[in-house]
Amino acid sequence: MRHPKRIGRMSAPGRKVRLASAAMLLVATTMTACGEGKDDGEKASAPKAPATIPELTKDPLTLSFIWFDWPPAKALEAFANAEYKKERPNATIKVNTVPNANWHDAMFTQFAARKTDFDIAILDSQHIGEAVTNGNILDLTDFVKENIDVAAYNPYLLAAYGQFPQAETGKRDENASLYGLPLLGDTWTMIYRKDLIGDKPPQTWDQMIAAAEKCQADNPGVSGLAFHQANGSDAAAVTYNTVNGVYGGNLWDSKTRKIDGVINDAAGQEAMDVLVNKMKPLTAKGSGNWFIDEVNAAVAQGKACIAFNWIAASGGLLDPKQSTLGTSREQILDKLGFATLPSQKTNLVPLGGMGMHVSAYSATANQTEALNFMKWFERADIQKKWAAAGGVPSRTDALESPEFLNAGPFNQVYTDSVPRMRDMWNVPEYARLVDIENTNVNAALNGAKKPKDALDDIAKEQQGVLDSSSRKGGGGL
């Protein structure tokens, strides 16, 4: 049965108008989105920060950071609000945090939207290339020349947290541009049980493995080693890179952008063999997904003879509330020792820590405040105060100051490690390179791949990423 007239149904011209409006809305939205794409193309390089800091606002202002959730983030917020406010009472510091695994995504999805809810991004050194190439952070070269005493730093530290293109290990290219300034230095420390393996830490990697082996045999229920093995963040990759460096390997040839044949050369293979066949058997069962917290938990519960962890994440080990090793800091320190990493064919250690980088999409007043904050933070007196507050500074005078060296038992380890540091790649493809390495090293550590196959796959896949710029389609697979 047909209804000649339906209640509420529009006449044909009315329907057409509505449909045309909907179509126009769709087209307009599409055009807007397309238009944004064109703008992107015009902003492909990092905008420059002014050499001198413009006039600061007198209005109340919140300077927002983005970092991942860990104790230094809380320490930074507390420190900055206590100290920076003395000079800039109208400024409030807010350190927004996300879980470590989401850190890269949280920053770069906002960068992709060309709108950020943070003014200062705390980037890992390896993120710099991606952010610079995409024009996400300010070029601070002129600002640094005018406002920062670059001679006060170990040149490589300054380069690692700011320079792009990447510096050669141990050096800084004074002609290269700087896009960030150091916020928190970091490296791995070897944490060892003095009561189980003796007061003197092993000096070579071989000695370290032998000590862990003996300790594990002598102490049932305690594993010889604990280190990062997870396939999230850069966990397993940093572990392999550390052993690779110690055994004389290289991650790549930065000049020729060659990875295949470099990371999987004889030294690289030896490093992978040591990691999987000598170190892994000394770890706890099921530790194949351990990262910072799990390693700390194993040490705090007395379940590991020797462990490796980032210095900046080691403070909790001295907290009696979190430890079964003693009821006071002193008792814990009777059992725990902190030392620089053992050497073998080289004495390289991994460079950790992060720098401060100004978002290109932040409001001008906030960018100005961010520059002022960075200038303030890099002052000699503030760096020492940051050290006393539990931070790891980067200026040499602060690193050698009693404020820093007396603040924690692992701080001397950091100061001694600075000349030995090596970083990963900071190219725009970093996120994919580290994922390839993480998943393959994790596979080798957990028996899903043979060590040699894993290393060859890393080399092949990473090389594929670096060579994929001319590929038509399928980028990212």
Binding site: R9, M10, H104, G476
Partner: protein
């Protein structure tokens, strides 16, 4: 029309436009972070995805997962529903209790199962140890990691199948059973010839919903295994996430997503045709 136009506009802006936009991007090499123009590359992304060994590996993992999880959920869900339907007392309480896992966020479920399955201090290994069995590396070995995902998903989503099956079982006319009893039909005969054929179409719809859900699994993988060990528990959705947000290869990720939608649509069509045939039969 005027009445529904706000909803239509919302649908256009939030659903139709993103889909069309993703479809457009899937034919380009666009990257959300690199910016620059979106160059048209034809079917380049689609060819690369369909011929990629990495994608084939993830597709196989996803297939094993979907078959394993949905199969187990169907058997358990129907079994539980069958047992509950035969009870006269406490049916409501039992049904509510069984539904609790389904009401939890997958992220919360993932987090507490991650603790429970921990090889060192997890309650599962502790229980195994108390009956003399050794430690199992649930989340860090290739086979057990995928099995763990299936078990956790089954724990959470069996109630869904159970609920639908229970609705079907309740709707079976009592007189059919009474007639069968008069004919002295056995329990198994009644189940095979009355219960199962009448509940089957409803059960298949539940299976379809679950299969679509399982096909795009992301959250449990992200929390429990992060795709490991290696990439052995990386599902297609997890892989898309990596393509989209690690390398920000937006064009490839869009094509990947469109292909997944197509797979679901095509399989669902076959499935619905089968259901219709069943109904006609």
């Amino acid at each position: 029309m005027a009445f529904i136009s706000p909803a239509m506009l919302l649908l256009l802006a939030m659903s139709v436009f993103p889909l069309l936009w993703a479809l457009y991007l899937s034919f380009t090499d666009y990257s959300a972070t690199r910016g620059g123009p979106a160059n048209f590359i034809g079917f380049g992304n689609y060819t690369a995805i369909l011929t990629s060994a990495q994608v084939h590996t993830r597709a196989l993992t996803t297939l094993i997962y979907v078959v394993g999880a949905v199969g187990l959920q169907t058997v358990l869900g129907f079994g539980i529903a069958y047992l509950i339907s035969r009870r006269t007392h406490g049916r409501g309480v039992l049904t509510t209790l069984f539904l609790v896992p389904m009401m939890l966020s997958p992220v919360v479920v993932g987090l507490f199962w991650r603790f429970m399955l921990d090889a060192q201090f997890g309650v599962v290994n502790s229980m195994l140890g108390s009956v003399g069995l050794g430690q199992v590396e649930w989340l860090t070995r290739q086979r057990t990691a995928l099995l763990s995902l299936i078990v956790v998903d089954t724990w959470q989503w069996t109630p869904f199948i159970m609920l639908i099956a229970l609705a079907g079982l309740t709707a079976v006319p009592k007189y059919l059973y009474e007639a069968a009893s008069i004919d002295r039909a056995s329990e198994w005969f009644r189940f095979r010839t009355i219960t199962l054929p009448l509940v089957w179409p409803l059960l298949l719809i539940a299976v379809m919903f679950r299969a679509i859900e399982a096909f795009r699994l992301f959250d449990l993988v992200y929390i429990l295994t992060n795709g490991g060990p290696g990439v052995s528990t990386e599902t297609l959705s997890f892989h898309i996430y990596k393509v989209a947000f690690l390398g920000f290869n937006t064009g490839t990720a869009s094509a990947y997503g469109i292909l997944m939608v197509l797979v679901v649509i095509v399989l669902t069509q076959f499935y619905l045709r089968y259901l219709n045939k069943l109904k006609e039969g």
